[in-house]
């Protein structure tokens, strides 16, 4: 029994804002809001259902400059912005004309989520998970992770004054260990690979009633945080939807939630319900969803990941089938790119727009390029690229690829010769 389900007299009313119940994705079984993630009826993932009431642009515009401006569309308490949190979101949407020209596209926007508190979109989902977890009575924020999620969970817990338990494979690079350990939570290195760590997390979630594993037992709430990427893009475009959007695929959750966000904005009348296409991006070394799309399948065959895009390296993506649904429904496509193309994608974005993304962003840029070359992305349609993480965290990817133009003695002539060469 979790703390949330406790029936003691101290139990207070659950306030998750507009969220009213959980619904199973396959057969639509409904159940009360709780820290659960799989339907006991049809064993499919549970998703949050809402009763939004009326939401107006003015209400959103008058809100804080972070994801809580959209709190009336998220499973979070009504006073969420008043409780200490990392205040993620409202990152830059930049018009990328130089990238557009290089790609042969008419108009491109880059949603640069490296501006978040720990420099990836994970701050969004973790903030929503923490807010919901607090309502359910948890007191510890936890996750298995190899990178961005570990940073986001440890930072969010520190800011909130919560305990954290972050599980990582003991073989993780020193830099990634440092950037999590600095927040002084309970960082536990596990002798094993990421699959071992993940399995351990599921066991621990079942045994510790006060631990909210953001991507396990509170996953339905956590994943809703990705909708804020869509909300921001639409608001930043001047309250309208783009025609095309390219989204990287790891578990696939983000892609489906971006679509959900656009649809919710449309249904609520916050934007006109203009058509848009959702495109998915994977690294060839971990491309189960792209492969399924190419073969016209509606299920996804798991793979063993082997790519430098480690933040996307989920071989058995939980939301794979729903990604295929979304992409097919909107008329988009999915492609995958080699590790060499990923690095070229990183470098292309850096040299054209001054934005240094991690490998996942390289996947997005390189996939956009491939989708244009194969005629799947319309070069005349307005396109948004989601850049969800920071290059500072994956320096290995460009090691040996970039460097100084020259090394010279300290003289004006030497610099001149170096520049002319």
């Amino acid at each position: 029994m979790t703390a949330a389900l406790s029936s003691t007299s101290t139990k207070r009313t659950l306030d998750l804002g507009p969220a009213v119940e959980l619904v199973s994705k396959e057969e639509g079984h409904r159940q009360p809001l709780a820290p659960e993630f799989v339907s006991a009826e049809d064993f499919s993932p549970l998703e949050v259902a809402y009763d939004f009431g009326r939401v107006r642009r003015e209400d959103i515009e008058a809100g804080p400059r972070n994801i809580w401006r959209y709190k009336k569309l998220l499973p979070v308490p009504s006073n969420v912005e008043e409780i200490p949190n990392t205040e993620p979101g409202c990152t830059r949407l930049v018009r990328a004309d130089r990238l557009a020209k290089a790609l042969g596209l008419k108009r491109v926007w880059v949603k640069d989520d490296t501006g978040n508190p720990t420099h990836s979109f994970k701050d969004r989902v973790v903030a929503v998970a923490l807010a919901a977890a607090r309502e359910f009575g948890f007191d510890t924020l936890a996750c298995p992770s190899t990178g961005n999620l570990a940073n986001a969970v440890a930072a969010a817990a520190a800011r909130a004054g919560w305990q954290s338990v972050v599980l990582i494979p003991s073989s993780l690079e020193r830099a990634k260990i440092l950037t999590t350990a600095v927040y002084d939570g309970n960082l536990i290195a596990v002798d094993g690979n990421y699959d071992d760590v993940n399995r351990l997390a599921t066991q621990l979630a079942a045994e510790h009633e006060t631990w909210a594993f953001v991507n396990v037992n509170v996953r339905p709430y956590y994943s809703e945080g990705s909708k804020t990427l869509a909300f921001e893009v639409a608001e930043q475009l001047g309250w309208r939807l783009p025609e095309q959007i390219v989204v990287p695929i790891a578990s696939g959750s983000q892609l489906t939630k971006v679509d959900k966000g656009f649809r919710e904005f449309g249904k609520l009348g916050l934007v006109e319900e203009t058509p848009y296409k959702v495109f998915g991006a994977q690294a060839t070394g971990c491309s189960p969803v792209s492969t399924a799309f190419r073969n016209g399948h509606d299920v996804v065959q798991p793979v063993k990941p082997d790519t430098i895009a480690r933040s996307l390296a989920i071989g058995n993506p939980a939301d794979g089938p729903y990604v295929l649904d979304t992409v097919n429904r909107t008329g988009g496509a999915i492609e995958d790119v080699s590790d060499e193309e990923v690095v070229e994608g990183i470098r292309l974005l850096a040299r054209t727009e001054g934005i240094f993304t991690e490998t996942a962003g390289g996947v997005t840029v390189a996939t956009a390029k491939k989708l244009i070359e194969t005629g799947k992305l319309d070069p005349d349609a307005e396109t948004v690229l989601l850049i969800t993480g920071d290059g500072l965290k994956t320096l290995d990817a460009i090691e040996g690829q970039v460097g100084p133009k020259a090394t010279v003695p300290p003289s004006v002539d030497a610099v001149r010769r170096a520049l002319e060469s």
Copy 2:
């Protein structure tokens, strides 16, 4: 002769917004706006003077969510926000109650400038320098640097489609080389120390009429960008000034410009002219301004830097005397802290607020702690700490200081034992 001073028929009218002339800091000699940085009359630094006219809160609030909302207070063209730029600024100001409690302060705000495009405040000053440099007819953005400035210049030039020339000591760490080289400008490694590189930059600035060295020939414009830190703090506090602010000191420019920003807001009636105190923070290993303050001097004796806070390691700070003026005028103080205290400052901010800062931020936090202990900072007064750079760039500082709590086999019992130990 620089391009700016060319008298060909293609010369257009200079539009630097409200900027009207340059004034020498010592004797107030006035001269026309130009890419110059030292007065030929009294050899003191030149500063931008303005004719602001009327500036209203509503105009600012209706502006873009970046530093250009303050364009009517900066030496930039009237249409600056329409020209591709990195769009820095509007970073988080977070109420830091847990840090306040740890420090024994009543109310603390952290201005977290790690959210900028290349994760330091340098994006602000470089954006202003680039905007002014374009007006003067330059076509290449340049700087000598060992870190944050190199990143900011290379990224800003890439985004604008400009050439860049970034000079670094060849001994620089591989990570700092990569994070600049990725933007694909002209990164030149110079065999020599930072002083050699700096000298070379001054020589090159004199010889290349189309190169804008942001911190040399366009320095008066560049340095104005730091005012936006003050503008944002005041606006984010709800259009009022804080009572105390702690600012790290490298050249000292930022501290004097934060003060200038507060005064401009006050004079323009954008905020009430309430009293505030400006405090300066240095690392003991490079503390010439702190030493001068302690000894009651009004000049600053140069030192040879030896500290892990390398982004503050300027042994002969150009604005040192003006820092002393500002701190004395406002009733503040300056302190310095050991490298050990810097690391503890980094860790304190991370564990209380989930913000991972570079060594300069550690200097700010540790100095605030020391200023409280010595009774110079009023614990009951509202205090702002400027956190101007990102911990991801100075991982060496915490290497060996933080790490996993334990390394365990993949079992629930092992995790439990690790957490109980």
